[in-house]
């Protein structure tokens, strides 16, 4: 319990994080917090380090400096499997379903580390209840679904572990505009169900409008943060994307 008026403890606290690949640092001292039960959206120009940030959180990339704290536990540098066991689930940018397996099999695989058939079946039923559309496709091969449908199944699979933190890496990537609506609605729905979400999104406007918190990264650092709306209306966002000063509509 938190004291009256006190801020709830953030689900994720990232402090002075430095990380990169081979030669250079992509993240150059990132500090940000993800409050519970909302959507925190990270936007920024190409190469800002958004996806790298998610990789560092999920353990796919070992940071060089700084710390990552999940619900008070330091998870910095833990391997992905252990980060996953602590409840951090990532939906990667590229489609990641097993194409030749059915939708239901793919979703059940999301519960693989539970090691419990009964619990897996219960969770699958819950998840399918949350996404009734998917239930209608559950016997289909995942590879036969459209890009937007696959995205929804990936979300459903991620929910099998009842994540304490869900990482979504550019879920709108490669989707036709008319499908975006469905995918963003699903993100909103997961958030409404109490899932804490850290969203990286190339469509900054749509991502920030959806989110309770917004963060703009540029050149490996956090340059702006606030509510989604504050960030979107901040005149500096133009400079960060274009190196000039211009307000968004």
């Amino acid at each position: 319990m938190t004291e009256a008026g006190a801020r709830p403890r953030p689900v994720l606290e990232i402090t002075d994080l430095v990380a990169g690949y081979g030669g250079g640092d992509v993240l150059r001292g990132v500090t940000l917090e993800v409050p519970p039960a909302g959507i925190t959206c990270v936007v920024g120009p190409n190469g800002a380090g958004k996806s790298t940030l998610l990789s560092a959180v999920s353990g796919l990339l070992r940071p060089r400096l700084g710390s990552i704290v999940l619900n008070g536990d330091d998870i910095t540098g833990l391997p992905p499997r252990q980060v996953l066991r602590r409840g951090v689930v990532q939906v990667p940018q590229n489609h990641s379903l097993f194409r030749d397996m059915t939708v239901r099999e793919n979703i059940e695989l999301g519960g693989y580390i539970l090691g419990d058939r009964v619990l897996t079946a219960q969770r699958a039923a819950t998840v399918l209840g949350m996404f009734p559309d998917i239930a209608g496709w559950s016997g289909k091969k995942a590879g036969s679904l459209s890009g937007g449908q696959q995205r929804l199944v990936e979300f459903a699979r991620a929910l099998m572990l009842e994540p304490r933190l869900l990482l979504l890496d550019e879920p709108s990537m490669g989707l036709a505009p008319r499908v975006l609506r469905t995918v963003f609605d699903a993100i909103r729905q997961m958030s409404a169900a109490g899932v804490t979400i850290l969203l990286v999104e190339q469509n900054a406007r749509a991502g920030l409008r959806l989110s309770s918190r917004g963060v703009v990264m540029e050149s490996g650092r956090v340059r702006l943060s606030g509510t989604g709306r504050e960030v979107l209306e901040n005149p500096e966002i133009g400079a960060l994307y274009l190196g000039g000063a211009v307000r968004a509509d």
Binding site: R181, R209, S212, I237, G238, L242, V246
Partner: protein
């Protein structure tokens, strides 16, 4: 100035997806032109259409007065348009110098000399005997640039020359482009690094969803609201504009 390279109303679709839609872009002779836009806006597709790697569904490409629409890549190269690729296309198991000589396999002394000159120009001559696969990513980009320059093209198309390259090599690449341009070479550059583009280009064209949304000098482009809106993306239909105000 007159346009040395021009696309006029180019249209290109992949399946149902319209990658380019009446896309008209002009590159003045002797200029450094930039082509920017959010991911998926059609930049590389336009490069592919210009260089013959993709066929235009409609519209035309001109080099000077010559119409070169849908001319195959080797002919486009011979006509004077050289290009590099976003992901470098080098032969990793050949040496750096061998990579330079792939197009002139007889190994004439003149060709070797010219190849070495170009490697020196881009600053990797010291690596000429090394396997190209051992070069850093930035050095590979320089090798590709050197390779393209050997043919002395009138126009050089660079696809993300600064992408994934460390800062000091980014500056080297920018310096080499400036020197070549001062000597009269024309460039069209696709790049996400805004400082690089805005610092280097005379004129920048902005694509969004396959169409030109703005074109002009960097100082104008970087304060153009349409450009920022292209980068920030579209509102979704019926989007709730202020979610944080909901109870």
């Amino acid at each position: 100035m007159t346009a040395l390279l021009r696309t006029e109303g180019v249209r290109k679709a992949y399946g149902g997806v319209r990658a380019l839609d009446s896309c008209t872009v002009e590159v003045d002779e002797g200029s450094v032109a930039g082509l920017i836009g959010p991911n998926g806006s059609g930049k590389t597709t336009l490069f592919n259409v210009i260089t013959g790697y993709a066929k235009a569904d409609a519209g035309h490409v001109y080099l000077g007065d010559a119409r070169i629409t849908n001319v195959p890549p080797d002919r486009v190269f011979a006509l004077g348009i050289g290009r590099t690729f976003q992901l470098t296309r080098i032969f990793a198991s050949l040496t750096v110098l061998e990579n330079m000589l792939v197009a002139s396999p007889n190994g004439h002394a003149a060709a070797r000399r010219r190849a070495m000159e170009q490697l020196e120009f881009v600053g990797i001559a010291g690596h000429h005997a090394a396997l190209a696969g051992t070069l850093s990513y930035g050095q590979r980009k320089l090798l590709e640039l050197a390779y393209v320059l050997v043919a002395d093209p009138a126009v050089v198309l660079l696809d993300e020359p600064a992408g994934g390259v460390n800062l000091s090599l980014v500056n080297t690449i920018a310096d080499r482009i400036r020197e070549l341009n001062a000597a009269g070479k024309t460039f069209l550059i696709v790049e996400h690094n805004m400082e690089f583009v805005m610092g280097l280009c005379d004129r920048v064209t902005v694509l969004d969803s396959g169409s030109v949304v703005a074109a002009g000098p960097p100082a104008i482009i970087r304060t153009d609201r349409r450009v920022l809106n292209a980068y920030l993306g579209e509102d979704l239909p019926d989007d709730d504009p202020h979610p944080e105000e909901r109870p």
